[in-house]
Every structure is written in C-alpha cells, then in structure tokens.
Point group: D2
Chain length 350, copies 4
C-alpha cells in the first residue's frame, strides 16, 4: 500500500470503544472508515448511520434483524471485512476471542482490545512503549484503559531514569454511563478479591522491566478511574524533575487542583467545554500541584477516562500494523493533532 493511499479500517463492535474508534479513524487524514458491524437493532446503530457510517450486521441474521428494524444496512460482517485492510475488534470479551479465528483465516490484520489476553496476539500495545515492535505485525492488543495509563506514566519516569518501583491503588468506576441502568454498585465499595490486581502484570506484558504492583477497588461512580501511586525513585530527586518527566510524555496532561479542577466531574466538564466528543479525556490527567516528592519517593494521583484513553492508542496501533509509519513519534503526532490532544495543557494557559 502506498503512503498516499488511505488505510481502510473496519470496526467490529459499535459499543463504548467501537464508536469512539470509528469517530477517531474518520478524523485521520491517512485512514478511512470502511464501516462498522454490530448486533444491536435499537437507537445505537441508528446513530452510526446518521453519521454516514456504513452499517453491517455481525452476521447475515443480524443484518436481517437490523433491516427489519428499519435500519439502512450495508450487509454482513464478511462483506465489511472484504473491503478492509485491517479490522479493530471492539466486541465484548468472549465474542472477540472467537472473531480472531475469522480474521486469521482471512489473513486480515487485526487489533483486539484489553479485555483479551496477551496471548491472543502475542503483542501488547501502548504507543510510547511498544510501537516499534508492532510495526508490520499481523495483530496486536491495545491494553486496557488502566494498563495504558500505568504504562504511559511509568514509561515517562523510566525514560527519565527515575523509576525504581511503583505501588498503586486503582479506584475503578463501577460501570460506564451508557449502561449504568443495567448494573453497577450502589453506596458501597467492592475490593478486587485478589491482591495484587491484574493490571501490574498486564503492564509487564508491554514492558517486562516495570517493577509494579497494583491493588484495585470498584467505586460507585461512572465517570473515570482514579489512580494513586507511591513510587520509589532511583535516587532522591526534586519535584521539578518528576514534573518534567511527565511533561515530556505525549499523552499526559498536567492539570492543577488550584485551577478549580478539584474532582473528576470538573475535568469531565472541562472536556465538554472544550467540545471534545463524548467529553473524551484522551490524556492521563495528572495533578501537578498535588504531587509530592520526598527524598527518593514520589506520590501522585491521576484520572483515567476509561472510555477514551485507548482511542489514540488504537489509532497508532493501526499505523504500526499497516507499517507505513515506522516512527512512533510520527504516528503519535498525527493522532494527537487529529484528536486535539495536547490542547488541555494549552487550554490551561501553561
């Protein structure tokens, strides 16, 4: 494929992640959206056709049900895959595992999301950490929202030569807003039954060098995850060094409690004010003024928009697999420009 041609991307699964990936792909100058496939027949796929996206049923039966529901359907998944250079699988966990066989049989490059295991593709992706090893591969796995944020932040410390070991507590939003009527927790906290939680090892699937242990707990809100970290540095450091390390990363936004960004909802509202679709916070939003560095220890907290953070990573993963952009920085820059990443810090005038 020549550099000039646009990569044709299919999206299988038009849910929380799928619809955001579709919108993000549609914004890239070097990509075009081949279409989206799903199983629903209600208001949700209607929104896809309203945006002009070609809509496919996950199977011929689903396509038929969609037609019966009055939706404009372009066909079934098979037909969508015929027209695509690559497919991003955004279906629920168990379904995705089955789809992988279909993609392999077609020799179609594919990306799965963080719900799947590392073994499914043998490669786990975070742009700043593992882009190079993904270039030209047949498939990769974009790791989960929590893991993505961990790899982004610890890679920043590692790149600055500061990271020795990191211990984190992860407060996980109990459910996404769009399905908060279907299930969630109410007026309670639900610890993950196992310590450590799986995110630490999962981060190591991207970068085995990370010395990281996590504990996780579900909290009764729908907006975002919130992480607290105690990090042992390689040496006593100044706070400014740690801030600089994070500031040098491509997808960490340093925000300030002192600017009125005192809670998750305030940051979400700022994203809405910035006109971000779905109030998406693609960045890890790390509170600079709350951070404390004391001797060889750093303590800090950041917010993770679990619906949005993996979207730019997925876009980069597409370029890596296709292989026409070999430099992580180049892909990250394109993706960030198309999605307005970086604007947060700028918006705050610093």
């Amino acid at each position: 494929m020549a550099e000039r041609e646009k990569v044709r991307v299919a999206i299988n699964g038009y849910g929380v992640i799928g619809k955001r990936v579709a919108d993000a792909v549609a914004l890239q100058h070097d990509m075009e959206l081949a279409g989206v496939a799903d199983v629903a027949t209600d208001w949700r796929p209607r929104m896809a056709t309203r945006k002009g996206y070609a809509l496919y049923g996950a199977t011929a039966e689903h396509a038929g049900a969609m037609r019966d529901a009055g939706l404009a359907v372009a066909g079934a998944l098979d037909e969508l895959l015929d027209t695509a250079d690559l497919v991003v699988d955004c279906t629920p966990k168990r379904i995705a595992a089955q789809n992988v066989g279909i993609y392999r049989n077609r020799k179609l490059k594919f990306i799965v999301q963080g719900g799947e295991k590392h073994e499914v593709t043998g490669h786990s992706f975070v742009a700043e950490a593992s882009y190079a090893s993904a270039v030209g591969r047949d498939s990769t796995r974009v790791v989960s929202c929590n893991t993505t944020s961990i790899v982004r932040t610890l890679t920043a410390l590692k790149n600055a030569g500061l990271l020795r070991r990191a211990r984190g507590t992860l407060l996980r939003r109990a459910t996404d807003p769009w399905e908060s009527h279907l299930g969630g927790i109410m007026n309670t906290l639900v610890p993950e039954p196992g310590i450590p939680s799986h995110q630490g090892p999962d981060a190591q699937s991207v970068d085995p060098d990370l010395d990281v242990v996590t504990m996780a707990v579900k909290v009764p809100e729908t907006l975002a995850h919130l992480h607290y970290w105690s990090v042992q540095l390689t040496r006593p450091a100044e706070k400014s060094e740690v801030v600089e390390a994070f500031g040098a990363a491509s997808r960490i936004a340093l925000i300030r409690n002192g600017d009125g960004l005192t809670a998750l909802n305030a940051v979400t509202e700022m994203m809405a004010d910035m006109g971000r679709p779905h109030d998406s916070l693609y960045e890890v939003a790390l509170w600079e003024d709350m951070m404390r560095v004391e001797g060889d220890e750093a303590f800090y907290a950041y917010m993770v928009d679990n619906q949005a953070i993996v979207i730019p990573e997925t876009v980069d993963a597409i370029r890596a697999l296709i292989g026409n952009v070999c430099d992580a920085r180049e892909s990250i820059a394109r993706t960030n420009a198309a999605l307005g990443i970086g604007a947060v810090v700028h918006a705050l005038g610093r």
Copy 2:
C-alpha cells in the same frame, strides 16, 4: 434596528446556563455574542476565551483578578453592557435581583432566568405559550426548566382541546454534574417539604388557565429531571389523539422505551452520539410507548434536561424583546434549525 443587523447579546454569568446560552447565541444567524461576564478566575472562564468569546469581569475588581490569573480580559461588565442591545442574566439567584437595577438604569433590555420571581419582570416566558405578549417588552423571565417542560406539554394538550386538569410528580436531579463535588444528596430521597410544590403556580404565571398541581422530590442523580403525570382530559380520547397533540408541539421529542431508550442515561448517551454540545437535550423527551390513555385519563412520563431545556427558550425570548420577529413560529423555527432541534425524532427514523 433593521432586520438585517445582528442583535448584540451580552451574557452576565458564565455558569451552567450562561455558557450554553453563549454557545446558542453564537449559532444564530441574526445574533452575535457581545461577550460574557463572570467572577471566576479558574479553568471555567478560560474555556470562554478559548472559544474566542470576549470575557469581562463582573466588576472592575473581578476583571483585575482575572487578569492576575492570566486571563485575557476585555474589561468589566459596564463596558460589556455599553456594547450590547440586550443582556441575558444567568447569575445566581440573589445576584440577579441586584443586577436588574443596573439594567433598568441603563434602559437596557434584559432577560432573567427562572430562579427569579415573576414580579421581577412582570412577564414569564415559554415560546409556545407567551411569545406574543413578550414582543417589544423591556424584559422577561424565562421560567425554570421544570416549569418550561410543564408549560410545553400542557400547552400541547390545551391546543388540542384535551386538557382538563393535570397532576404531576417531579423527580428532580439533586445537583448538576459540574458541581456534583460540592454538594448533593447520597443514597436517599428528599421530598420538597411543601405540597403542592412551586412549579404548578409557576406554570400559571405563564398561563393562568392551567389547572395543574405538582409534588416534587430530590433524587440522587445528576443527569436530568423526570416527570410523571396523571392528566384528566376534557373527554374520553384515543391514545393516538394525545400522541398527535404532543407531536404537533415544536419542542417535544417522542421517544420509545422499545428503541432501547430505557433510562435517563441512555437518552443522554444518544445526545452525545448526536454530537450535541454538552449532550444537551433541548426537547422534552416523552416516552410515547409508555403512555397510557384510559377513558378520559392520560398517564405519561418525560425527561427534562435541566441544563439545556431553557436554552432555546432564551434565544426566542431575545427575539421577542428585540421585537423584530413578531411571530413565535418564525423564531422557534430559526432557533430550532440553528440548534438541531427536531433531529431527535428524525434520528429515530420516525
């Protein structure tokens, strides 16, 4: 002022309502935004300047504080008012009452929001019910979100000759998302201490003919209000007649539980998918398939986005006071087109 000239609108108060009015005014072909005034110095006014809105301090002192905080400030409220044909006051309750004197002294037309009493302007506004009597006036009050929805829906029934008396229970969201870190209720329900609640009489300030009684209760969520109604009709009717009456209104969206719009959050997500800024639902979203008409009684429920529903009304109120558009239907049509109102029903393919 000639029809061709654009009305210059000042917004005093850049909060939940003020910022949405600013965005809506900026979208109207026959209006331009003179600027916005506020007292905050944090991330919030920064979003205004980011959009290119002229930012003013509520006083010279506030303008100074904003400048000290690094904001690009155009001046103080007085200067903003000098350049405007009309001001929309979106400040908190007690402040607005004081501002009215300032506007009157300047002989500047003004609009207050529903937190103020009817007596402040002597006129209460809902476009479909009281546009005509507002034309050319010096001031009006756009009634509150709850009252707006009541007047919209009961006017629709009245116009169809069906309304005898209406009894409603109003579930009020406890706080807005952007200030949900500052206060709200948790795992409880808080009845309004008085029955009936004030919304019934408030609706009568727009249309004294309405026979309406309301009871209200605060519920622990931030998304929207939800109203349940038992309406006695003037005669036994078919459900189709009632549906038709609501369908004929300009800002009622008939939605369907059977389309998957089974809860407040689903409707909000659909607004996000439609690209509405701040997920705004300007319409009263009334569940058509849940409605029951039995003899001379109608039972139904609808959702009210308390942050958005008064925005189109405010835009219409501007035109009414300026007086260059004398026909309610003409103003409503312009506003609806600019804000994409009507698209909801269309989006659902019905």
Copy 3:
C-alpha cells in the same frame, strides 16, 4: 391445636425477608421458630446459627455443602417441614413456585411472598383488608411491599368513606443494601416500561373495589420506596378528616417533616436510634405536615421500607391460616406489641 400451644413455623429461604420473618416469629408469644432453610454456605447462614436458629439445607446436597463449610446443620428441608405446622416461603421468585408443590403434597399450610402471582394461592393478604377471608385457609400470599403500603393507606381512606380514586407515582429503591455490590443502577432513573405498573392491579387482588392506577420508576438508592399520591375523595373534605383516617389505621405512622424527618435517611436513622433490628420501619411512614387537601383532592407522600413492611403482615398471615385467632384486630395487636409497632408516633410525642 389448642390456643395454648405455640405454632411451629418453618422458614424456607433465609434472605432479606426470611431472616426478618425468623426474628419476628421468634418474638411472638404464640409461635416458635422450627428452623430456617437456605442454600448459602457463607457468612449469612452463620448468623442464623449464631442466633440459635436451627439451620437446614434446602436439599440434602445443600446441607452437605453447609456442613463442609463448617456450619452446624440440623438436616435438610424435608426434616424441617416434618416438624412444622406451617412454612413461610421466602425463596426467590422461581424457586418458590416449585416449592409450592412440595408443601401441597405434604398438606402443609404455607405462605408465599409478593413475588408470586395471586393465582399461586388464590388469596392475597394484607391484615387490615383480607385477614378474615384468610382464616383457616391452606395458603395465602403476602403481597409485595409496595402493594402492602397501597392497600394499607387506601383501606384507611375507604374505611373513612373518603376514597374515590387514587393515582400514584412509586419511586422504587433500585436494590437492597445487602446486595448493592451485585447490581443496581447508577446516576440514572429507570422508568418501568409499562404504564400503569403492576402494583395497581395487584392491590385489586386484595381488594377489587379499589380504583387505583400506579406508575413506577427505579431510583438510585437502597433505603426505601417513596410513594406520591393524588387521590380524589368522595367529597370535599378537611385535612383533619384525612389525617384522622390514616391515624386510625394500625400500621401507618404519621411523621412530620417539621420534626427533622426530612428525607428517607433521617427516618432510617430514627429507626436505628429506636433500636429496631435492621433499622426496620414496619409502618407506612406518611408525612402529615406535607399532606395537602384541596376541595375533593388529597395529595400526600409516604415512605415504604421494602425489607420490613411485610414482616408484621406475614406474622398475621400465620395466625390467620392456623385459624386460632379469628379477629384481625386481635392478631394485629399481638404482632404490633411484639414488634414495637406504634412506638414511632409515640416516640415523636404525639
């Protein structure tokens, strides 16, 4: 069975309702608890044995699993039923329907809860409305928490000759506290898809004369239901007449917003302060000072503790089926005395 002998009561299902019925039965002078049966092997049945209740497995297999978990098990359900005069089934919906066959084969009197249909027993029970027709029957169904409260309040108005027709909006707590980690709704409201909701017809299964229509919605809290009513009276009335009608009922507590009981949580805290087990509010707690009577209409709201309200009814239903107490008033008086019902009003000094 002679009046002197104690009725031996078995409880099948030791969940939210079962454990409360067990405690209530244990407090009655004319009853004794034969034992409780369940399927769980975790901390929950341990609490039963801790109280000295004989614990049985729902089957021999369950009894075995309980033993393996270190619980002191008395045997399986069959053995429990052998020793009982009557069984109260408090198992989940689908299980209960199957159990009924077991009880019938044994010719054992039984009570099911409101999750079951009226047809399962052919009789629906609320002490003040249908005790007499239950006397000596083989079985009855204690109706659901919502329906119980509706029948209690509307029967009070009917007994005073005041009830013409009642229209209610029911705010339903989304889940019980003890299972709020397993599922519920978050930051949304979920309307029942059908209007009217089933509670109106269900109330008519107890008293076919009631003209009642209900609409229902799930709200994101765990404490209690809250009902709002618009009632058309048979004639214009004074508020004092309506208050008196409610005050004459045996299980309605008139509370006052002006006493600081301004929300569900305040009433729950008062129950805790009164030492009620599980903070149980057995009464319908109706806000006297919020009530409004206007001409021939009454408007009021009350709170329903969905975990507790059916407990005294179940105790009365036991006496009715056994048939040794033929007068509803006598049974209600015994139950109320044992559970401290009536103390609420007294506690408030009125």
Copy 4:
C-alpha cells in the same frame, strides 16, 4: 474515687459520635451516664429521652427551646457538668474548641474527638498505643476514625517487629448516612488537595516512631472508609507472620472475602445480623485472604466504620483519665466485653 463507684460521664453533643458514646457508656459496669447535652429540638434528642437519658440544653436558651418543643429537659449544660466526673465532648469542630475553656475552668476532666488538634489537650489517644501515658491526665484527644485504624494496624506490625514504613491510600466515605440529605458528592471522586494527607502526621501524634505517608480521596458512599496499604517490612516475612501480628491485636477483625464478605455493604449487613446497634463495626475489618506478602512487602486492605471505631477508644480513654484502671489490657478487655468486640471473628467460626 473508689474502684467500686461508677464514673459519672457527661456527653456534650448528641450527634453521630455522641449518641454512640452514650450507649457505650451506659453498657459499662464501671460507668454511668450523667446525661447528654445538645442544641437540636427535633426528633434526635427525643430519641435520647426515649432511652431514659437525662437531656440537657447546651445553654439555658437551648434548654428553653427544647422545652418549647415538648422535650423533657433536665437543665442546661452547666448543671450536667456539675454532676459529672468527666465530660466527653462530641460537638462539632469549632464548638468543641470553645468548650475546652469551660471544662478547664471547672477543672473537669475531658475528652475531645479527632476533629480537634493534638495541641488542644497535648495528648492523643489510641488504647493499644498510648493508654499508659493518658493515665491520670486531665484530658486527651481520641484521634479520628482514620487515624485510629492506622495506629491500630501499624502498632500491631510494630509490636511484631515487622514495621519499616507504610504507604496508604484512604478512600473516605463522603458523608454520614444520617446527614446524607444535606450534602455529599455525587457520581464523582474528590481527591484531598494535598499529598500527603493529614492522617499520616496525625498518627505520628500518637506514635512519633511511625514512618507513614497517606493519600486520601472522598468517594460517593456513606457506609465506611476503606484503606489500601503497601507496607515495607523490616525483613522478608511469611504471610502467616503478618496475619498473626494483626490477629494478636485487640480490635482488628480478620475477615474473608471468600466468606461472602466481598464489599462494605456485606460487612455492614453482617453487623446488623449480629444485632450491633447502628450496625456498628468497632473493629478494623481486615481482609485476611486478600492480603499478599511478597518478600519484604505486605499489601492489604481494611474497612473502617467511621461512626463506630472510636467508640471503644473513647470508653478506654475515660478509664485512663479517671486513673482507676492503669493497665490498657484490663480496660480494653472490659470495653470489648461490654460491646461484644471480638465476636466478629468468633461469628465467622474461626
């Protein structure tokens, strides 16, 4: 005062803490409740008189207002203090600071709660850590719920020679159930603006040797706090050693996720099933099976009932100040027996 005489204890402030302290004091064989003072006139002080507690107004004016509200009032605070050997101040923060002057003038021994600063009394109290130094003093401060749990757990590790340094993340319930209608956070998380949070230094006010850093965040639930810890031990250890260290403490309950105690609400429900007043969890409930010990690091989580945990400490503090029980273990044993502490582990059959 002879050992045989009962200490007469006054409680100033009958709120969340005051009413629980009153109940706990009433249960001690070596204490009697002189009475409680407050300012409220609503249902709350009514509950005190209902229990037979002598009720006093905080001032003569408050006493008068209480009388006007129909409450049986014994007099004003001055009169209550006249009859007491010691006063426990449970009033809100700012009020307590003023009260201290009154107590000192009277040369009355007093206890303040953790809202006050260490300097107010010069001594900070947790029974297992600082009983001895409180014996015979004029006053002490029972530290806050969070600090109490930290000192209890870290003292246990210290006593076993295992504690090197501890880093904790504290999830704080946003408001208490009884005032959850007055304020709280909704669908968001609110980080404490400063890292480290104050609880670390506060723990050092009890034991300056503790190397402890804390970070804190408010979460939208009302039940309890939840702490996550990463602790560096003095040496590599087995998990059994750490479990043993905690098990040896007098007020730590080792619970198991595998027993079904999988979330805060489950533990609360178990307390209700045990008949604990207000579902009080006096113990630090630490999940034994979730704990992980890896080399010289221990990771664990526990639940803190912020309304209950300081109650037994306050009872012990009374004995320490009075000085008739000089041994911490003796006082703890008496308090624990009276409150049923220790029963949790026993209830779980281990």
